[in-house]
Amino acid sequence: MIADGSKFKPGDRVRVKFEDRPGHIRTPWYVRGKSGWIERVYGDFLNPESLAYGRDGLPKKTLYLVAFRQADLFEKSAGSNDKVLVDIYDHWLEAAA
């Protein structure tokens, strides 16, 4: 779990890119375009969006545990203090204010 070269560190605010394209995607729809923070850096893994097509999965992608306030994801969760944590690869993330 080498995380030295990672773009983000725990506590950093991040936004999930809002992309929609056909094919194998590991970023659930409900977090796209949403903001949260890095909870943990898991390290570098073969890219499943490449592996799914029989390719080599390289270059590896850093995988983060990203935390979201449930209330920021779903309107019906307004007022909730609960969290949803999702494993997201770095090419889906950008720095958020």
Binding site: M1, R26, T27, P28, Y30, Y42, G43, F45, P48, L63, L65, A67, Q70, L73, F74, K76, S77, N81, D82, K83, V84, L85, V86, D87, I88, Y89
Partner: protein, 209 residues
């Protein structure tokens, strides 16, 4: 007379037809064997391997963590090494993370994209874990889901739902039930249900009959 009764009892039984997907799977299986990619023996071995894994593995780990603080630290720091120590083969898991429940934080695991599940530790996932209902509602209304499993959480407890979308497999380390001081590890393991390690309910407080 006996035949008349059994043959004509008033309704039609559905024919035992394979579904489209079942037919497709059997066809692929036959082709793989025919082309020599895998053998019937490979398939049987894999079925036996899948069936041999069960939530009893997870329960052993949790009970040991409850009774041995040093093991608990190792289990959280390096779950795969802790599994190996207990004779549980978790090598098939890429990365394995233990989510420790506390008095103030409860974890719950889902895979909203498909059915990712720590199979070496918990065996095959239950059907409800793979259902659209659970996969949709767990992230939106985890407390409502827990309530259906009989767990009512106080408002000041924080719920953390983990959506395992990638290479990490999660298991919840539930809280040890009150009143179990001095219990043996084997008895404690009987309290650790599969569902408590997915995080939708607490462990049992008494050993089931």
């Amino acid at each position: 007379m006996v035949n008349t009764v059994t043959d004509a009892h008033g309704h039609e039984h559905p024919k035992n037809e394979l579904s489209y997907f079942a037919k497709r799977i059997y066809a692929i299986r036959e082709l793989l064997v025919e082309k020599g990619v895998i053998t019937e023996k490979d398939i049987q071995c894999q079925i036996e391997y899948q069936e041999a894994r069960s939530p009893a593995n997870g329960a052993k780990l949790v009970a040991r963590a409850w009774t041995d603080p040093a093991f608990k630290s190792r289990f959280i720091a390096d779950p795969k090494a802790a599994c190996a120590e207990m004779g549980i083969d978790a090598a098939a898991i890429n990365e394995f993370v233990v989510l420790e429940n506390t008095e103030k934080i409860r974890h719950m695991v889902v895979c909203t994209l498909c059915s990712c599940y720590p199979r070496p530790i918990l065996g095959r996932p239950p059907d409800w874990y793979k259902s659209f209902n659970y996969r949709q509602r767990s992230v939106v209304d985890p407390r409502g889901v827990m309530r259906e499993f009989g767990l009512e959480l106080a408002d000041d407890i924080e719920v953390r739902v983990h959506d395992s979308t990638a290479d990490i497999r999660y298991i919840v380390l539930p809280l040890r039930p009150a009143g179990t001081e001095g219990w043996s590890e084997a008895d404690l393991a009987k309290l650790v249900t599969r569902d408590s390690m997915i995080g939708v309910m607490d462990p049992l407080s008494t050993i089931p009959d």
